[in-house]
Amino acid sequence: MSTPLRTPMPSGSNPPPEQPRGNPDLRLSVEQASYVYAPNPSQAPLFTLEALSFQAKPGEIVSILGPNASGKSTLLKLISGALEPLSGRIFLNGFPTHSLPPRIRAQRIALVQQESRLLFPSRVWEFVLQGRHAHGHGLRFVTDEDITVANNALAQVGAAHLSDRWMDKISGGEKQRVILARALAQQPLLLLLDEPTLHLDIGAQVDLLDSLRRLAAENRYTVLVVTHELNLTGEYADQVVLLQKGKCLRVGPPASVFQRDLLEHVFQAPLTVEMTSSGRPRVTLFNKE
């Protein structure tokens, strides 16, 4: 078993840019955050994410759930700090995510996207070491600590044996785990995943979510997963943020969000919701006829 990865807080060499303004006891706090996409101010907006709020604690898995074009990815971009909210605030450990300098942001927030495009081939270990960029200085020659962290990260996602392979010569599921390992090598407080199960078969999906649950517990990450997978959300999330057409309809544990009428309305499909013996909701879709 590998050692936990997370360090307590960004070290003394990287002082926070300003004093915390939000509630520092909460890991992530989204407070009435909203966003509008508009080509220019005089035209009608193409998409609006209405103000929404929720909080997340260390070790928690939050699922941002909704059909296509519901605003999931916009919310993820706001939380990652890539976009600035039009109104409201998003705090990570009391600091607004958008105003953190890129380097400090990358020490605290790691984002796992669907696919990483490679221009020139690189080895798996080189790719994972990219996660150490925000922790290094100058030319960033690799330190012993970097190597330990990268090896642990690969071990934690069960990909230690891939270390010397080429990135373009491994399978989709293996690549997904390596991308996750790079995010772990960032030693973040907040782990964001954008549709992580999209190209994975069912076995790999369960593997990935099992690892996420274990990592959230071991390393005290707060994990946010954007997805439209109902059953994986029901099985793995501690909290669900349900979105539809830019509106947040419900926030809460899966058992309270997974109500038949509500889900049928959001996903426009007839379905049933039943509770499993573990107290987790399970959704079954059936034909419209």
Partner: protein, 346 residues
């Protein structure tokens, strides 16, 4: 895991420096006038010891006053073009990017020609006038990159095929402007269209310009090198680099300005020599991998070696006449470009 260490970096650079030295010595020896290795070594040591007065032989003068400055010019121009190519490939995330192919060299040439014309019209002191040409070339290069960059964008993203097409068309358009300027406004010191479009190292620039070239090269290369580890991440895309902690905007501005300076300086002293910035970075990537901390210095040495060899070929194969060095690099570079393009498409 075998990450790059400082000692391995120095070792590899040392080997490349040694190869460059050997190539320079061979280039000094080759030419219309035969030079013995002994005489060459003796004269080089005298130059290094600032005892040039001791060199009296005719061939010594040829070596020290004619061949050596030309070879040193090839060293700096080759290194500049190669580092500029490596930078453009990272900045535009396109392995086929090259100052010549994208029309950036032609843009620098137009800038240089216009500055020469302005110099002719206004009466500056010679020292000041000498600095206007490289500045004009820098502006020409910087404006052209910005233009090609916007031509290459589709739906907010850089599209590599559109970018290459945009660059090729820009290059052809700017060549037409060079021809137009040359045939309508030809003055005494405009050097001729072939010089600007094919490049040549046969005219040694003024001393002030040579110093500027050397200092500009070191500053620009140094500035790009400070972003070497950021460039590694930028290859994966701007958004991804940002999420990994790269200050993307700062890196882009530094590399954009520094690569424009390198191209502008190189073109203002040697015209538009093509394909060095394409061929050399690719060869170095095959040998040393795509880590920019190693690739950038390797490209500098490799570019210097390649251009010294190309120029030696240019001035010896049809002796006593001379080929344009740009013709030599294009003879090798253009087929290589097609090879890379085919490999990418398959």
């Amino acid at each position: 895991m075998r990450p790059l260490t400082l000692s391995r970096l120095f070792l590899r650079c040392g080997v490349l420096a040694l190869i460059l030295f050997v190539v320079v010595v061979i280039a000094l020896k080759l030419g219309a006038v035969q030079v013995s290795l002994y005489g060459l070594g003796r004269d080089l040591i005298r130059v290094l010891l600032h005892q040039s007065s001791g060199i009296s032989t005719d061939y010594g003068m040829i070596v020290v006053d004619i061949r050596l400055p030309r070879i040193l010019l090839a060293v700096v121009v080759g290194a500049s073009l190669s580092v500029a190519g490596t930078s453009f490939q990272a900045l535009l995330r396109n392995p086929l990017a090259d100052p010549y192919v994208l029309g950036i060299s032609s843009g620098a040439a137009v800038g240089a020609i216009i500055s020469l014309m302005i110099e002719n019209q206004l009466s500056f002191s010679p020292e000041f006038a000498g600095l206007i040409t490289p500045f004009g070339a820098f502006l020409g290069a910087a404006i052209t990159i910005a233009g090609v960059y916007f031509l290459g964008r589709r739906e907010g993203q850089i599209d590599s095929t559109t970018l290459l097409l945009g660059g090729v068309i820009t290059a052809s358009f700017l060549s037409a402007i060079i021809m137009f300027l040359m045939s309508t406004l030809a003055g005494g010191n405009l050097r001729g269209a072939t010089y600007w479009m094919m490049g040549s190292l046969s005219t040694l620039p003024a001393k002030s310009l040579l110093y500027l070239l050397g200092i500009g090269f070191l500053v620009a290369e140094g500035a790009i090198y400070t972003t070497a580890s950021d460039l590694n991440l930028l290859l994966a895309g701007e958004k991804e680099a940002m999420h990994l902690g790269v200050d993307v905007r700062r890196v882009q501005i530094v590399v954009y300005l520094a690569a424009s300076i390198l191209t502008g300086l190189a073109v203002s002293v040697s015209g538009a020599i093509g394909y060095v910035g394409l061929l050399v970075p690719h060869a170095m990537r095959m040998i040393f991998g795509s880590d920019h901390r190693m690739l950038l210095p390797a490209a500098a040495f490799g570019g210097a070696i390649a251009l010294v060899i190309a120029d030696t070929i240019a001035r010896t194969v049809v002796a006593p006449s001379e080929l344009q060095v740009g013709a030599v690099t294009a003879l090798v570079g253009a087929p290589f470009f097609i090879y890379l393009l085919r490999r990418r498409l398959s």
